[in-house]
Symmetry: C2
Subunit: 338 residues, 2 copies
DNA sequence: CTCTCATGTGTAACCGGTTACACATTTGGT
DNA sequence: ACCAAATGTGTAACCGGTTACACATGAGAG
């Protein structure tokens, strides 16, 4: 059975295709009675407008793209879910792209996406630079970027309070009685990693025990957290609190400490950052500064679709709150607990 | 700057659009010299064929859809990654859909996807029934289904050996000295859960200690695993081996046992199923029967795209091997270890 | 009693490709 | 030398929508 076209509907309703199109898109003038005839014809034929033809004629495909480093990194599925939920709700469809934070791959995706008349892109990937952004701007492709600084007002940004979150983490570790708090920082090409590190530094630099060597690098992955702990403990065996730049490294830290026979939280307390589900499956569960990951995704989608449909182009910056989730990895006697 | 069209290229090369199209699609006869002129013109204009127009004219959009229950369920990101990698490599784009295993949502996605001239669908979601499949067949939408029985030869199936895997798990638990092995089974509407349960039953039913009450239901999630353990241990305090129907429930079992003060693996050994990354972050790490999750995704994409491009429609059934990954949760003295 | 403007509808061009068909011109087999 | 098949290329219809523009009607303003 072949699908009905707008011309079939027009014929059956005894009107022109233009009128049918007006009914469909609710624009232009249409007489109430005429409209009813058209609606009846549409129902009779079970007519569904062809999205591809629509895309070609109207330059709108109802499709957005989500470019992220790697969907199998546990941070992103929840964000992707947020994006997809909102998009679906608003009648959009989401294309998934894994860039591996690799500029070439990212650009090749953008090429394809432009050819497909994508309506907009959400970038949760970190590679593209100013030039790329300008390039997009020229094609006036609406753009929302996650975890970037709002350097330009030409694109919208969704991020959360990394600096404040880091301070929250340190403050909490101090409260539970830590006397020497180290930080495992992420790759400095990520703004998030940088900001969290600065937050840590500003929170501890005035304290008597502070030393720059308490900061060790990690790669934002589990193995990076493990290596960091080995390195750290050989340098500072007396460390009793760890603020990891993200949750995966916190998991790694926990693992490494366990293998070294250090008790968590009794001997060393750990606090992560991100609030991914993984932090609830370890034993003890890991205290973390949670970003509203799902909301970051859903908000990004909302903002993007607003940009797509809006006539005036605003480029708001959304900075979301983070919150400390206290769990076993920092639970000590001295804490006045709930 | 407006993008060049095929007519611009034709004009510049001094040929007709048909010829340009022939060069583009490498079909029909084209003289070598003519071809060269066209190629030069394409490069000069930086011409990129418009995918939407192509879709409208040729009924091929180079887009496939992946319908899964929930991308934030840790089983699926890796599979999605497999799908996307292959798709991207073969020049296809992937649309992501979360069905929540909800029939209505699934069908609403299918509606939209048909309108968008999607080339094919990979189903990792379990809701659609015979009628739906036939419906797809009528629209001759290529289909690949994961984890379904090969009841019909009208669609392709990718699955792995659940029954054999379950037997593998039980055999391993016996080998490490378990004397009484329980099974936490998943929701029986999932074929996978059913097959794993049958595998377990067939492996233990002849053993002296066997009792049907050693099988307790779980929901394939962490909390389900925890509840199952509580229920199980009150019924059979002497259980010393757990075969969980999937890894999430194995994680839950581990958590619950830890809280009840049972030592893993010394007092109770645990084996999961799936091979998701989560099993490596707990302490001890969890032994599991690993499915080749990434490969299931990449194979599904390969099969689907083959179906899309092939003229003759075969509907192969691919049943992948599973493998036991031995980890801490079943490591006991008596095991002859590597 | 005109004139203007809001309302209502149809025609046909257009979006940017693919491809059926027509029309050469070679090639090669007998 | 003759004719069928292979090679090469162009014209124009088509995919299924959107929309600019033309045209008609009726109402309210001056």
């Amino acid at each position: 059975m072949l699908l009905a076209t707008i011309r079939d509907v027009a014929k059956l309703a005894g009107v022109s295709v233009a009128t049918v199109s007006r009914v469909l898109n609710k624009n232009g003038y249409v007489n109430k009675e005429t409209e009813q005839k058209v609606i009846t014809a549409i129902q009779q034929l079970q007519y569904e407008p062809n999205a591809v033809a629509r895309g070609l004629a109207g330059k709108r495909t109802g499709t957005i793209a989500l470019i992220l480093p790697d969907i199998s990194n546990p941070f992103f599925p929840e964000m992707a879910r947020g994006v997809e939920d909102v998009a679906h709700q608003l009648g959009y469809t989401v294309i998934l792209c894994n860039s591996d934070d690799h500029g070439v791959k990212e650009r090749s995706y953008i090429e394809v996406l432009k050819k497909k008349y994508i309506d907009g892109i959400i970038f949760a990937s970190n590679t593209l630079d100013e030039t790329d952004v300008e390039e997009m701007q020229k094609n006036d492709l609406p753009l929302v970027i996650l975890d970037r600084a709002p350097i330009q007002d030409t694109f919208s940004v969704v991020r959360s309070k990394n600096y404040e979150g880091a301070q929250l983490a340190v403050k909490h570790l101090l409260e539970v009685g830590c006397k020497r708090i180290a930080h495992i920082y992420g790759p400095q090409e990520f703004l998030t990693a940088k900001e969290r590190m600065t937050g840590y530094e500003d929170a501890v630099r005035h304290l008597p025990w502070y030393s720059p060597s308490l900061m060790v690098p990690g790669n934002f992955r589990i193995d990076g957290g493990m290596k960091a702990i080995e390195q750290l403990l050989s340098r500072h065996p007396d460390v009793d609190g760890i603020f990891a730049g993200n949750d995966l490294m916190a998991v790694g830290a926990l693992k490494a400490l366990y293998r070294l026979g250090k008790k968590v939280p009794e001997e060393v307390a750990i606090c992560g950052f991100d609030g991914i589900a993984l932090t609830e499956i370890t034993e003890p569960e890991i205290t973390t500064v949670a970003q509203p990951i799902y909301e970051m995704g859903s908000l990004a989608a909302k903002v993007l679709i607003e940009k797509i449909t809006a006539t005036v182009k605003a480029n708001p910056i959304h900075e979301l709150e983070v919150s400390l989730i206290r769990r076993g990895s920092t639970k000590r006697g001295r804490e006045t607990d709930e």
